[in-house]
Symmetry: none
Amino acid sequence: MQYSIRPATGVPIYQQLRDQIAAGIARGKLRPNERLPSVRDLSQTMVVNPNTIARAYTELEREGLLYTRPGLGVFVAEAPAPASKKVRRERLQKSLDALLVEAVQLGCSSDELMELVAERAKQFEWAESTAG
Amino acid sequence: MQYSIRPATGVPIYQQLRDQIAAGIARGKLRPNERLPSVRDLSQTMVVNPNTIARAYTELEREGLLYTRPGLGVFVAEAPAPASKKVRRERLQKSLDALLVEAVQLGCSSDELMELVAERAKQFEWAESTAG
Amino acid sequence: MQYSIRPATGVPIYQQLRDQIAAGIARGKLRPNERLPSVRDLSQTMVVNPNTIARAYTELEREGLLYTRPGLGVFVAEAPAPASKKVRRERLQKSLDALLVEAVQLGCSSDELMELVAERAKQFEWAESTAG
Amino acid sequence: MQYSIRPATGVPIYQQLRDQIAAGIARGKLRPNERLPSVRDLSQTMVVNPNTIARAYTELEREGLLYTRPGLGVFVAEAPAPASKKVRRERLQKSLDALLVEAVQLGCSSDELMELVAERAKQFEWAESTAG
DNA sequence: GTGGTCTAGACCACA
DNA sequence: GTGGTCTAGACCACC
C-alpha cells in the first residue's frame, strides 16, 4: 500500500498516516493478520522520523485495529465485535454533522449528497450482517 | 443567536465559535447583511478573551462569509457563487471518506448508514436548486 | 499531590505517573476540574523529560480522565457515565485474576485476601449508586 | 497441562507461558517433583521458538518454582516457605490498588467488587492454613 | 531484525 | 504562559 503525506495541511503527519491505514483496513486493502512495513523501513520510504511512524501504529493499536507481536512486527487485527445500533449512531453523529454542514455550505442539494454517499459507499467493504 | 462553548473538548474556542456562526449562516439563522454582536459585547456575554472572538470573525471574513464595515461592525456576507458540481464532490470527499471509514469500523451496514444520513439530512436547511 | 518514580522497576515512567494520577482521581485526592501542574513545571520537579510527562497526560486524556484547555493547561474530567454490570465484570477480570494468582502464590488464604480487599477498599471513593 | 498463547495481546510469549505454569503450580494442577515437557517437545507442540520456552523455564527456575536435573529435565519445586503476613500484604498492595482504581473508575460499587472477588476466588485453589 | 521508552531541543498554535 | 508535533539519536526487551 502507498501512503501520501501532505505536510502543509496542518494535519499532523501521524494522523494522516493513521487515517490512511484505517481507511485501508476499512476498504479491505489491508487484510487481517497482514504484516505492516516495519517502523524503520516505512520511516525511510516516507522520509519521516521513525517516532512519527511508531506513533501512528501505537494509536491504531490502542484503537484495536492493529496488534504488535514483540520482536516480529505489527499486524492488522481481526474485525472487532460490532457495537450496538445506539452506540453506532452516537459515534457517527459527529462525522455526519461535519459532512452535512460542509455540504450545506457548498450549496450541495440533499439529493446530490445522498447520491454521492451511495456512490462512494460501494467502494467500501461492509460487514455482511449487523448486530442490534 | 446563542453560542455554546464546550471547554473540555480540546477544540479551540475560536473554532467552535467559527463553526457555529458558519452553520448559522448555512442554515439561514443568520441572514445576509445582518449585523453580528461586537467583539467586546460577545466576549463579555460568553466570558471569553476578546482576542478569541476576534479570531473567529477574522477567519470567517477570510473565508468570505463575513465582511467588516469599519466603525459599524461585522456583517453576514451575501451567499457566494455556488461551486461547480466537480468542486463540491472533491471538497466533500475527505469528510465523506472519514464517515465511511468510521461506519465500516463500527460494523454499521451500508443501508443503515444511508438511512442515518437521510434522517439527519432532513434537519438541515438545503439550497433549493444547485448549479452545475 | 506528590508523585514518586522508581526507575529500576522496568515499569515505564509515564505509566507510573499515569497510574498515580489515575489513583489520585479514584481516591478523590484530585477533584473534577482541578488543574494539574504544567508539563514544564512537573518535568522540572520530577527531573524527567517534558515529553514523558506529556505522554502520561495524553494517555489519561484519551481515557477520559483528564481534558486539555488549549493555552490554559490540563484539568481533571468529570466522572464518566457508568458502564453496564457485564462490561464492568469483563474489564475487571484481568486485574482480578492477576491479584488472585499472586495471592495464591504467596500462600495467602482466601479469607485473608477478602479481609485485605475490604480494608483497603474503605480508603477509596466509591460511586453512591451503580447502574445495571 | 494445556497452554494457550494469544499472540495479539502484546504480552511476551515467554511470559504468558511463565504465568500459566506458575498458576498451574499455585492451583495444584502441577504437583511438586512432577516433570515438565522438554523444551524441544513443547516448542513443537506450541509452534513457538525453543528459546522462548527456555526463557520461561529459566525465569521460573530463578523464582524457585522449578528446578533442573541436568540430563533428566525440568521439574516442579517443593512449595516454598510461606511469606510472613506483613510481606504478603506489601506484595499484594500494588495489584490490589490497581484493581481498586479500575473498579472505582468503572463506577463499580464496593459491594459489587467484594462479591466479584469472592465469586472468582472460589475457583482458585487456596492453601489450607496460613503461617503468620 | 522487531517495536518501546526516554532524552534533548526545535517550532507552532492557543489564550 | 500553556500543550502538541516533529526530529535526532540512545538504550532496552523480544524473537
